[in-house]
Symmetry: C2
Subunit: 404 residues, 2 copies
Amino acid sequence: MAISPLAPDAFPKLPQIDGVRFASGAAGVKYKDRKDVMLVELATGTSIAGVFTRSSTRSSPVLDCQSKLGGSSDDRAAILVNSGNSNAFTGSAGEKSVEAICGTVEDATGIPKSRIFTASTGVIGERLPHDKITDKISDLATDLSAFGIEGAANAIMTTDTFAKGASAEVLIDGEVVKIAGIAKGSGMIAPDMATMLVYIFTDAKIEQPALQALLGALTDQTFNCITVDSDTSTSDTLMIAATGASGVDVTDSAGFTQALHGVMLDLAHQVVRDGEGATKFVEVKVTGAVSDVEARQVGLSIANSPLVKTAIAGEDPNWGRIVMAVGKSGAQADRDLLSIKFGDVLVAENGWVSPNYSEEVGAEYMKQQDILITVDLGIGGGIGTVWTCDLTHGYISINADYRS
Amino acid sequence: MAISPLAPDAFPKLPQIDGVRFASGAAGVKYKDRKDVMLVELATGTSIAGVFTRSSTRSSPVLDCQSKLGGSSDDRAAILVNSGNSNAFTGSAGEKSVEAICGTVEDATGIPKSRIFTASTGVIGERLPHDKITDKISDLATDLSAFGIEGAANAIMTTDTFAKGASAEVLIDGEVVKIAGIAKGSGMIAPDMATMLVYIFTDAKIEQPALQALLGALTDQTFNCITVDSDTSTSDTLMIAATGASGVDVTDSAGFTQALHGVMLDLAHQVVRDGEGATKFVEVKVTGAVSDVEARQVGLSIANSPLVKTAIAGEDPNWGRIVMAVGKSGAQADRDLLSIKFGDVLVAENGWVSPNYSEEVGAEYMKQQDILITVDLGIGGGIGTVWTCDLTHGYISINADYRS
């Protein structure tokens, strides 16, 4: 598959995080001739937090991870992820696969099962051939290296066209704290509490409950504000591991919060930029709503509208469809107070097209690869921003025969 | 544009409704060489009920119609509809256009403005060139005929590929009561209280409040259960006019309710069968939910899922995506109690693929033009059925350059 036209030039150079080692390999779960399994080892004392899909049909690995969060950090921990098969809706066989994988990782590494977190991503409803994975685990355990994060980012991809990574280094009390994260995701993207697969590592020191609270709050401003196709995955998993190796306590650190927010937003944007069939990256900024909640509601109504998304694909400044999407959102709005901008171009105000708007200027703006749509509802102080991509023939092609 | 492969063979033969006359013509609002305006005259004493979009950005004609419902029926009434321009989000100019059209109809027919209902359908946000319409009104008034319903059905089409009509005749207390209806709609279809444009006529006798209540209840079982693309129009209008000419009082008549339900469901299905780019007609039946409301919620989550709809377009029996859509719906569900059928083929049960399911049988079923998906949640007595179509390259082609 061709790489997304919105992809960054290259995988970024990510800092090593003390206390974290990676390995990846090709287990042949579904894909041929590529990596499809990764193992992460986390040092003793690492705090681990996670947010997961709220889907009522979530997968066995998700249920297993949720049950293990918040346990003691007196041991090392591990994360094992495969791509190509999501082990979702696989009944009791799914639970047995998780058990078999965790048991084998325990045997190979000495890490207790209660500290082993797995994830699976790919087709739903097919039995996971976990023997292919367990056969590789001792090799992975041997290969663990502080330098393996790019291989890990590649191993977790499914319909992704590029591997996604982001990082930050932040000075706190004169000491450097590092953050590095990887993500996968391209379709079935409408996160609800979490998203696709995202793993973030830091050498910051922070207790698990504080880390969990921070992750939840930042998820609401980042991954919960993106959508590719309004479909929510059964496997959405976002985990962060704080090894504490820097010795810097970041509890309540505004600098750390800001840096982590930046890494999460960067990864979230990369997921949108790799949206299935995407040719445009779209930011929808909503202001003047009665509340932040309603601002996001309007933003998602616009970002999920197939008519808005196809208009953007066609480079058509079809602001009438934005009016429609505001109208259907369920949020409070007044037709005559609404204003709409494409970039800096004021398109509509006072319940009608702006007298200074020219269709030629609007059409010219829509040719850009990155599109900013600003909607001011004019009735309150609520604000919210969401990100999405356009809806193209590429999306149909990918999804009308993805499984076959 | 090619006619939908799901279209009926021909426009149906509709009965004349005593007290109703139609005219249609070509005003050149936007389209060339086709009818784009229709006028309906309704006899004195006609009860008129309507349901409309709940969009907060609804159009001037919708607001005007809503203000006029429930008035006296001591005069004749009229309905004037144009296609090609929706007169939505056109500020005070939109209201002036409605006023100009109603005034001209009053002059040409002698019907008071308070009994004149208009609708406009087409592009949003462009000023309605209402002079083109008012110039035609005296011709339309002269042409009124009891036989003009098919012309009217053609005049209100936009991206529709076929005109939509349905009828019923029902015996009540030994007397025949007739119902005839027309509809337009193809994209921006996710009705909320009403839908696109639908006009239904009957010679039944029924007071306006009873007719309004009946229409609302039946809309919830018909037009509010269809979706093409999850986008709700700013112009959705469904009106029914009961002339009373049969002399048969149908208040609380189970026979009339059933017949009207049948006409509304037929028209609703025709709208889905003309869904933009549609190649498959899909019925999603949900049983075993905790309530009827949650059953419809699950049904719409499946019917609006782009991943489900593209799988159907690709004739892929991808039931994993149905599991996903159930999971994201927000309705109560238990992965291990869920069962899914394609037609009579049991696909999934007990939290996994059915032991007797064969992918070949599933794939063969998906080749049909009409697809039935049944989901039993296994936790309660709630039921609901929704109807949709597949999502194809045709939808993208139509909407990436509809306005340009």
